[in-house]
């Protein structure tokens, strides 16, 4: 098993890290701070932040409705949430093009815009926060909320003081997963954004283009930055997992 892991995962990572550092730190820095690279990274991170923030709110609302509300079609809604997990990313991009791209029945055309990137990322990251918050909401002790009410707390206060602190780790891990996904996403973006450097070229597309054009250094440099971000996010998710069990481990 360790051999398998090493060959499949560790070796490639080593190759990437080595290649990017091959010509020394100074060279690496020059390549990474090239204007096109910086633009791609800024766009990617900016979009990821927007999408993560939107997901934090909309994902929590959706999870709340799925757990606390009851209506016809709720189980259908619950099943549909996983669609972005099941659908190929390139089809994801295509579906958004179908409704919001050229000759859209709604009269909008967001193809080749930054809005398209945000929309594509929203599609792909939709399930994350919902699925991390749902189980936490299900486990919540309803009686704590009743106790708060009996002590005089209004609904907003109950949510703020009792519900939110308990679902926050769930929201944050969903956000971390969504952020990681958003930073690396390519399939859903490649058709819809137009991939215009400095305008709608995300980091993943930058790396792709520079591999195609033979610029392995440029591609590796940006790829290493993306790898670092992924590692950091994994640490955050692991840390959150540790923190959530802290309350229980005190006893």
């Amino acid at each position: 098993m360790t051999t398998f892991l090493s060959v499949v995962v560790l070796l490639p990572i080593a190759a990437l890290v080595w290649t990017s550092g091959k010509h020394g730190r100074h060279e690496f820095w020059t390549v990474v701070s090239a204007p096109e690279a910086v633009a791609a990274l800024k766009l990617t991170l900016g979009a990821a932040v927007i999408v993560s923030a939107l997901n934090a709110v909309l994902g929590t609302v959706t999870a709340w409705v799925l757990v606390r509300d009851d209506f016809a079609g709720k189980s259908l809604m619950n099943a549909v949430i996983d669609l972005p997990f099941a659908l190929p990313t390139i089809v994801g991009g295509l579906t958004l093009l179908a409704l919001y791209g050229p000759s859209s029945p709604l009269g909008v055309d967001i193809a080749f815009t930054r809005t398209a990137i945000v929309l594509a990322l929203m599609f792909e990251t939709l399930p994350f926060v919902v699925r991390t918050v749902q189980p936490v909401l299900l486990e919540l002790d309803l009686e704590s909320e009743e106790a708060a009410r009996s002590l005089g707390a209004g609904e907003a206060r109950v949510f703020r003081s009792i519900v939110l602190p308990n679902i926050l780790p769930g929201i944050l891990s969903g956000v971390a997963l969504a952020f990681a996904r958003a930073v690396g996403e390519i399939g859903s973006i490649v058709l819809i954004s137009g991939n215009v450097p400095f305008k709608t070229e995300v980091a993943a597309v930058f790396v792709f283009n520079h591999i195609q054009s033979g610029d392995q250094n440029g591609a590796s440099a940006v790829a290493v930055v993306m790898l670092l971000i992924s590692f950091l996010l994994l640490l955050v998710i692991g840390g959150l997992r540790y923190l959530t069990t802290r309350h229980e481990r005190h006893a």
Partner: protein, 262 residues
């Protein structure tokens, strides 16, 4: 907050981002008529693309299933230093961009890569051929079985296995008769997720395949090919086939999803 407005927000959100667009795909596929749709879908290169996708999936899924089970067993049952690191490494493909994965493989197996010359001397082609695509797909779909099996194994505890040992069962017998049956639904769910991931893979294979029509194009790459060549029926046509498969996958996921909460 009033129930209706929350419910309304959630429903609107899903309609705008998921369901609306999906419905439009079906419309677009048939918009120019059934004939161009049929021609594109039955084009020999398209059929080859579907075949290639299925081939790669058929190789990657069993490998990752076995690995996932072995890995989960090691992480949960064997207390070895570094179990946490293994856990993190297995999770990495979830957080990493597929294009970066493709690049890494490029750097390993490309002409100027670490192993490039070795494979070239032996006449084996990795890059721009099926082997690289298989490796890439294995990498990106690595975590799913392991991630589903680990919590199930943890919850099960090893008492049943200990009982089996006291009754004389060997390690393999215990695994086959006791452990595997207990984790089988987690494994099945993991396999469903892995399969979906393999069928839908784009970024990594896009980098390592070279997009050679009729040779190294998967279904997802073909969608892009058709779209960029203004063949709307073709690209949306393949899209609805893939979407239909995804709906089946989604059904399987919904039915098999492990029950959450106590």
């Amino acid at each position: 907050m009033p129930r209706f407005s929350l419910r309304g927000i959630a429903v609107l959100y899903l309609l705008a981002v998921l369901l609306g667009p999906l419905a439009m795909v079906f419309y677009r596929a048939f918009e120019r008529g059934a004939h161009p749709l049929w021609t594109s879908l039955t084009d020999p290169n398209t059929i080859h693309a579907f075949k290639l996708t299925l081939e790669i999936t058929a190789i990657a899924v069993p490998i990752n299933t076995v690995f996932g089970i072995v890995c989960a067993l090691a992480i949960v049952r064997r207390r070895f230093p570094g179990a946490g690191i293994v856990n993190a490494i297995v999770d990495l493909p979830l957080a990493l961009s597929p294009v970066v994965v493709g690049l890494m493989l490029f750097l390993l197996y490309g002409r100027t890569g670490w192993f490039g010359s070795f494979f070239q001397d032996h006449g084996i082609q990795i890059l721009f051929a099926t082997p690289a695509m298989v490796i890439a797909t294995i990498f990106v779909s690595l975590p799913f079985v392991a991630r589903e099996v680990v919590p199930t194994l943890r919850e099960l505890g090893d008492e049943q296995e200990q009982a089996a040992h006291t009754l004389g069962a060997s390690g393999w017998q215990t695994f086959w008769r006791v452990t595997l049956p207990s984790i089988r639904w987690a494994v099945v769910y993991g396999v469903v997720l892995t399969t979906a991931r393999c069928l839908g893979e784009y970024g990594a294979v896009a980098v390592v395949s070279g997009h050679i029509e009729g040779k190294t194009e998967t279904a997802t790459l073909r969608v892009q090919d058709y779209y960029e060549n203004f063949n709307q029926s073709g690209s949306y046509g393949i899209a609805i086939v893939l979407a239909a498969i995804s709906v089946i996958v989604l059904l399987a996921m919904t039915l098999l999803r492990p029950k959450e909460g106590s």
